[in-house]
């Protein structure tokens, strides 16, 4: 039993990374109804900018964090302009494939500029294991969890207490109606992208700081974890993304413990598939199949 609890706690700690990644994904999906397959890679650009700063200028973690954020945002804007803004409404598949093409472009760009397998990254804290009520938690994990949660709360506040947040929610709900109400949807989408990239950049920073290293595989990894967490929680829902992230973390941990590392991803994908088959709305998407059928059949 203690194992199960320990795993769950570890899972939640790790899950906070996934939750952060998923939030960005879901924000973008919410306002655009398209998948951004370049999300992970654009964060990766940020992370590698950070590591560059670290290596070249021996900068402290705050400078590195800032650099990561800026890098991620710039990459995000590049993707947004090229793959989404430039492709007219309705050609959603073209946007997704375009974002895939840019994914490959960015990934190769990174491997060309950083040919080694791994690069160092400054840690936030030392490797200090804590013991709380018999459960051991790494300090660095806890810090990450705390920062992630703070960010999520901040985002929630922004979404529900600011005009920008209102605009984002309006566009997510119904872009046509939003436009009729005078909301500049393309500007909202742009800023949503910026926010999502910033969040992603920060997530990338936290993850890299935790690992104390970065590799070019980060892009793919981040995209997938973010995607799965987002789908588990419900596409387009920020609280869903958070929940989905934690759930994914816990599931992975338990699967690794009880079945072995090779089965970890298999279980995650299997869970995703089951969700899609029976509850595509995810945890928080309301009986989506029924709703969507009704929406589709609004004849």
């Amino acid at each position: 039993m203690i194992d199960f609890i320990q795993n769950s706690v570890d899972g939640i700690m790790i899950g906070s990374r996934y939750a952060l990644l998923a939030i960005g994904f879901t924000l973008i999906f919410g306002v655009m109804r398209r998948l951004n397959l370049s999300y992970g890679p654009s964060i990766m650009i940020g992370v590698f900018v950070g590591t560059f700063i670290f290596i070249e200028f021996k900068a402290g973690w705050m400078a590195v964090a800032a650099a990561t954020l800026v890098g991620a945002v710039i990459a995000g804007i590049y993707v947004e302009r090229l793959c989404f803004w430039a492709i007219r409404q309705g050609a959603a598949l073209a946007s997704m494939v375009s974002s895939f093409a840019i994914w490959m472009q960015l990934e190769e760009f990174v491997t060309l500029s950083f040919p080694d397998r791994t690069y160092p990254f400054p840690p936030l804290t030392g490797d200090v294991p804590l013991k709380i009520a018999g459960i051991s938690i790494q300090l660095s994990y806890l810090v990450m969890f705390a920062m992630a949660t703070t960010l999520m709360l901040a985002l929630n506040l922004a979404l529900y207490r600011t005009r920008f947040g209102l605009a984002v929610r309006a566009v997510s709900e119904n872009p046509v109606a939003a436009r009729f109400m005078g909301i500049n949807t393309s500007r909202v989408i742009f800023f949503a992208f910026v926010v999502a990239s910033a969040l992603g950049g920060f997530a990338g920073f936290l993850i890299a700081a935790n690992e104390q290293q970065v590799t070019p595989l980060f892009g793919l990894w981040a995209t997938f974890k973010g995607l799965i967490a987002m789908m588990l929680g419900g596409m387009g829902s920020v609280p869903g993304a958070i929940l989905g992230g934690f759930l994914l973390g816990v599931i992975e941990r338990q699967a690794t413990w009880y079945l072995g590392a090779e089965f970890r991803d298999l279980v995650a994908y299997g869970l995703l598939f089951v969700f899609l088959a029976f509850r595509p709305g995810g945890l928080l998407g309301q009986r989506l199949a029924e709703r969507e059928r009704l929406a589709l059949r609004r004849v």
């Binding site: 998948l35 007219r88 050609a91 472009q105 995703l272 598939f273």
Partner: protein, 323 residues
């Protein structure tokens, strides 16, 4: 014809199968990022047949494609209710699961004192049928293109048949099609099984050409590429996916110009292309224009067509995945 050219052409032919399989589903209105699963299943099945059970190549390929089609049949049911993007991700998840299963699955038998068979992440080596039976690279390439020609004829017939029209109806407006008597379940499952079979042919050819395969080959990259080929080459005709494959593999792999930063260039080109031609090079408008030109050139008189017209095969937009 030198060896290098043969190799490039063989690859183009082989990957065309999986591109066509994604394209077929696209016609019926489904975006699949998971066709590589059937590619993989067939590769393993056919490899097992020829390398471990001693079957002939032709039978092995057929067996592989049939097993892939059966897997597609199984996949069709849980994905029936998934719409638009959910279907895309569902197929992606499925394909990844298949890949991960192959990463851990071993099935080996002793043949002539050696262990042969799929060995988890080591992959499946020793599929040497082509080698042992003295099939030259040129002959193999002809085999690939022979099978490809058969599949293309099949597509040609479909595009002109009632079946193709029904597929297109589903792709255009599924609800309307249902109201007009189209049995959605039947035709969607049919399309999925057909696409699985076609991808399967490619997979079986792949493993026999390379004599080995590793599970990591069947990753999401392959899946999205398959779809992208159709989108680049054009969704107006089944030749579109082939053009996409030829552009990617032929033009870029073989030219030494861009070694090292091939993806940087190609990725950028694709993104730009999709801005100006979101439905690819040979999209429906172009195909229609070409057909009219050809008809006129051949002297056939057609009724005057006052408005711009899009002939039948067109890929749908991604359905709004409402949350």
């Amino acid at each position: 014809m030198d060896e290098h050219t043969i190799q490039v052409l063989s690859n183009i032919g082989m990957f065309s199968f999986i591109a066509l399989s994604a394209y077929l589903l696209l016609i019926t209105g489904e975006i699949s990022f998971g066709q590589q699963a059937f590619f993989a299943i067939s590769a393993y099945a056919s490899g097992i047949a020829t390398a471990m059970w001693g079957w002939g190549l032709g039978l092995g390929i057929l067996w592989g494609a049939l097993v892939a089609a059966a897997a597609a049949f199984l996949l069709a049911w849980p994905t029936l209710r998934m719409r638009g993007l959910y279907f895309a991700i569902g197929t992606l998840a499925f394909a990844e699961m298949i890949r991960l299963v192959f990463e851990v699955w071993t099935y080996q038998v002793k043949i002539d004192g050696e262990l042969v068979g799929p060995d988890g992440s080591e992959g499946f080596r020793g599929v040497r049928y082509a080698f042992e039976n003295d099939i030259s690279n040129l002959e193999y390439m002809l085999l690939i293109y022979g099978l490809l020609a058969v599949v293309l004829v099949f597509f040609f017939l479909i595009e002109r048949s009632r079946l193709g029209a029904i597929f297109r109806m589903l792709g255009e407006d599924e609800l309307l099609a249902e109201m007009q008597g189209v049995n959605r379940v039947y035709y969607k499952v049919l399309a999925t099984v057909m696409s699985g079979f076609i991808a399967g042919i490619g997979g079986a050819l792949y493993i026999h050409l390379n004599t080995y395969v590793e599970p990591k080959v069947f990753n999401v990259m392959l899946g999205v590429h398959s779809l992208a080929y159709g989108l680049i080459g054009g969704l107006g005709t089944s030749l579109g996916p082939l053009i996409g494959v030829a552009l990617d593999i032929g033009l870029l792999e073989s030219t030494r110009l861009f070694t090292g930063f091939r993806m940087v260039v190609f990725g950028g080109l694709v993104a730009v292309l999709l801005i100006v031609r979101p439905r690819g090079l040979l999209d429906e408008d172009v195909v229609y224009w070409l057909k009219r030109r050809a008809a006129r050139w051949l002297g056939r008189s057609k009724k005057p067509r006052p408005a711009r017209r899009r002939p039948s095969i067109s890929a749908p937009e991604v359905r709004d995945a409402e949350d």
